[in-house]
C-alpha cells in the first residue's frame, strides 16, 4: 500500500543497527507500540542489529565505553537500588565476567520495574505482523545462513528496505 491510497494506515520504517541488550529495546518497543496503534511497521536489521533475529536472543550489555549508563542494583531497599554505581572503565575492563554481571543486573532491574523482555517484545511484534527484514549483506559479511534466523523474518537488502521506507510516515535509524 502506498501514499496514493488515502485510507492506507500510517507506516513506520525502522533500521535496527545495534545488537546489544540496551539498544535492542528502542526498535522493538516502537514497533510493537506502532503495531498496537494499527500502523504498518517494518524493521530492517542490519550489521550488529541482525543478531536480534536469531532464535535464541543472547543480547548483552556492556557498561564499558557506555559512560552514561546507570549501574543500579536490582535488590535491597529502595535507597540502595537508586544508587548509581560509578564504574571506571579501567576497573570494568579488568574484571572477568563484568559484562555478564552488568547484563544480569539490567535484566533483573527491568524485570522488577515491569519492562517486557526482548524475546517477549519480539514475539509481540510477530503477533502484530511487524515486517522484519534481515540484511543479506550483513549475513554474507559475518558468515550467517538463512537458517540462523527466525522463520518469521525475510531477507533483503538496502533496496528492499528503501522501497518500504519511501512510503513510510516515520523513518528512524536506531
Amino acid at each position: 500500500m502506498s501514499k496514493s491510497d488515502p485510507n492506507a494506515p500510517k507506516r513506520l520504517a525502522l533500521i535496527a543497527s545495534k545488537g546489544t541488550l540496551d539498544w535492542a529495546y528502542p526498535p522493538f518497543i516502537l514497533a510493537s507500540a506502532a503495531g498496537a496503534m494499527g500502523w504498518e511497521v517494518g524493521i530492517f536489521f542490519t550489521f550488529y542489529g541482525l543478531t536480534l533475529l536469531k532464535p535464541d536472543l543472547t543480547a548483552s550489555v556492556s557498561p564499558l565505553g557506555n559512560p552514561a549508563m546507570p549501574m543500579k542494583m536490582p535488590f535491597g531497599p529502595e535507597g540502595f537500588q537508586n544508587i548509581n554505581w560509578a564504574m571506571p572503565n579501567l576497573l570494568m575492563a579488568n574484571v572477568p565476567g563484568f559484562e555478564s554481571l552488568a547484563t544480569t543486573l539490567m535484566k533483573q532491574t527491568f524485570k522488577n520495574k515491569g519492562v517486557a523482555t526482548i524475546p517477549e517484545l519480539r514475539d509481540m511484534c510477530i503477533d502484530l505482523d511487524v515486517r522484519m527484514i534481515g540484511c543479506q549483506m550483513t549475513m554474507d559479511v559475518f558468515g550467517f545462513k538463512r537458517e540462523d534466523f527466525i522463520k518469521e523474518c525475510e531477507i533483503g537488502g538496502a533496496a528492499t528496505f528503501l522501497e518500504y521506507a519511501a512510503d513510510a510516515d516515520v523513518q528512524l535509524f536506531v
Binding site: K10, I29, L30, S32, A33, G35, A36, M37, G38, W39, K113, G114, V115, A116, L121, M124, D127, L128
Partner: protein, 79 residues
C-alpha cells in the same frame, strides 16, 4: 457526581511499563464488538498520554481517563 460508565471488559495492566499497556489494550479491544467499552487499569505514569495518543491513532473513543486508588483508569469505547 459523574455518570457511571458500564464496561464490557476489564484489562488490568498493573505493574507493566511501556509499551505493554498499549499493546495489551489493542489486543483486548480486538475481542470486543463495536460500541462496547473496555476498562483498562494501569500503574504506568506514561499511560495517560500514551492511551490518549493510542485512542486518537486508532479511532477508538476515550470516554474517560481518571485516577482511582492511585491507579490510572481508562474507559475506551471500540469504534
Amino acid at each position: 457526581m459523574t455518570d457511571v460508565i458500564k464496561e464490557d471488559q476489564v484489562l488490568d495492566c498493573s505493574g507493566m511499563l511501556c509499551p505493554m499497556p498499549v499493546v495489551k489494550t489493542s489486543k483486548a479491544i480486538k475481542e470486543l464488538q463495536s460500541g462496547q467499552v473496555l476498562k483498562m487499569i494501569s500503574t504506568d505514569p506514561g499511560a495517560p498520554p500514551d492511551m490518549e495518543a493510542w485512542a486518537r491513532q486508532t479511532g477508538n473513543e476515550m470516554l474517560r481517563s481518571m485516577t482511582e486508588n492511585g491507579k490510572f483508569v481508562f474507559f475506551l469505547k471500540k469504534k
